[in-house]
Amino acid sequence: MHRSPALWTAAILTYLFLYLPLVIVVAYSFNDSRLNAEWVGFTWHWYRVLLQDAGMLRAAANSLFIAFVASSAATVLGTMAGIAMQRYRLRLLPIMVLSPVAMPEILLGVSLLLFFIQVLNLTLGMLSVIIAHITFCIGFVAVIVRARLVGMDESIFEAARDLGATPWQAFRHVTLPLILPAVIAGFLMSFTLSLDDFVITFFTAGVGVSTLPLQIYSMIKIAVTPEVNAVSTLLMLLTLTLLLLASRIAPDVLKGRAV
């Protein structure tokens, strides 16, 4: 089809716009200078500082733990939601499942803060963050699982029951194997989202818990050193790997078709 040179130029410029800033962040993480201004020389120094930063390491451990627990729960609940949305056409469920995804994050963060403290009398900490993460991750998993089910011949689930399978047997032998790629992709996406989340975590973490994004934020606000670049680079690497894995396992679902 028509791909004029003007189109190519505009497109390449957009790609450059998307990537250049990130390339700079990564590049300067190896820069032998306190300032993010000019290139002085190559060094691993900032990574060494990073690995000795106790606060940072604790935040990283927290992030991974929270991400693991939250995505596991969100995957189970989201898979159930995705199946229910596709098979039972309830009208309430899609609205409730997708709203946390579609609204400004700050609203979710603030309302949960209010809820935890005022109603549940819960001290903000790990639990509140995990619950908050599950809430917004359910929607992503549900959309991915549903997208997988949409393309399939509905009658095979009926056929399973017709041929003698109880509802549980039908799920175990027919539904689950077929949605497994979407379930795994959903888990990986949730993991990524949880690792990267800032706004909601900011409001629900309280003073006790820090995660990587929260650490990055305070570093940016208080004292900017290339240590920020280093931790950013590592975080980017991790989420990139997870996304690539997810796109391998469930290719069509992640090609923007879930949107």
Partner: protein
């Protein structure tokens, strides 16, 4: 007459849909309701919320519309709302202008290339948005190459050095940068579904390249434009971290205001009222977009 087999199917249906439903009712709907109620209460003595039924007679209790009245009492708050809308609209528009050529190129490329291009769009998405905002701190910082270049350029006209960082421009650039992938993907999804034969038919009937775009491609892409705009505008309304990092003290948006209320001054009723107003604004926009999208749905 009893219908036992059907009620077993009903049981399964509720077994599958209730856990997520209950979870969201508890942790999404209930907090929302609490917030609505909170916006109608008095602030507590040490921040937070005052009790609904106060034991001491001289402390305020019960419900009141004070928070909303406070909002309308000072024009500065409405100003911030309008500014946030303006920034979100500008962000959406700029994102659309930048995303369209790329999405068009992607949609018109052969399948192999397309998948790669989509992956290339999603990858920057993999970075935390703080990192993406921070990247612009580097690029727009006073020591950066770009800053020095612009200041040298301005020097030619004897104009003073203009700080690129901590300015409305920086905030806008950061907003566009962070939200761009959300505009590219829905646009691409829509454009990919266009039937190339339509353009051939238009050409056959005498349409020039621009006419083909404006009269065929663009109208058909409207649902994608709406979807992308919704995915950019609504989150953009509520950002606080980007103006916080890239903006100056005068660049406060609704998000910053809300954050201040909840974590700074601890005036929770006011913060809740602001959040409710923000929600209403976001819902109104979403409703408008959905309505328009449904009107034009049969095009694509």
């Amino acid at each position: 007459m009893t219908r036992p087999t059907i009620s077993r199917a009903h049981l399964v249906k509720w077994l599958v849909s209730s856990p997520p439903l209950l979870f969201l009712l508890l942790f999404f709907v209930a907090p929302g309701i609490i917030m609505v109620v909170a916006s109608f209460r008095y602030p507590g003595e040490f921040g937070g919320l005052a009790a609904l039924y106060s034991p001491t007679p001289n402390l305020p209790s019960g419900l009141t519309a004070e928070a909303y009245r406070f909002f309308f009492s000072d024009p500065i708050y409405a100003e911030i709302f309008v500014k946030s809308f303006a920034v979100a609209l500008a962000t959406t528009f700029i994102c659309l202008l930048m995303a369209y050529p790329l999405a068009l190129l992607m949609a018109r490329s052969p399948k192999r290339q397309r998948d790669l291009m989509v992956l290339l769009v999603i990858m920057p998405f993999a970075s935390n948005f703080l990192i993406r905002a921070y990247a612009w701190m580097i690029i727009l910082g006073p020591q950066s190459a770009l800053s020095r270049l612009t200041n040298d350029f301005l020097l030619l006209f004897h104009a003073g050095p203009v700080p690129l960082l901590f300015s409305p421009v920086a905030v806008l650039v950061g907003m566009v940068y962070v939200h761009l992938p959300f505009m590219i993907l829905p646009l691409y999804t829509n454009l990919e579904r266009h039937d190339p034969l339509l353009l051939d038919a238009a050409q056959d009937l005498g349409a020039s390249a621009w006419q083909r775009f404006w009269r065929v491609t663009f109208p058909l892409s409207l649902p994608g434009i709406f979807a992308g705009s919704a995915l950019v505008f609504i989150p953009a309304l509520g950002v606080f971290a980007i103006p916080d990092i890239l903006g100056g003290t005068h660049d406060m948006l609704i998000g910053n205001l809300i954050k201040e209320q909840f974590l700074g001054t601890r005036d929770w009723p006011f913060g809740s009222a602001l959040s409710i107003l923000l929600t209403v604004a976001a819902l109104a926009w979403a409703g408008l977009a959905a309505g328009l999208a449904r009107r034009w749905r049969h095009y694509a």
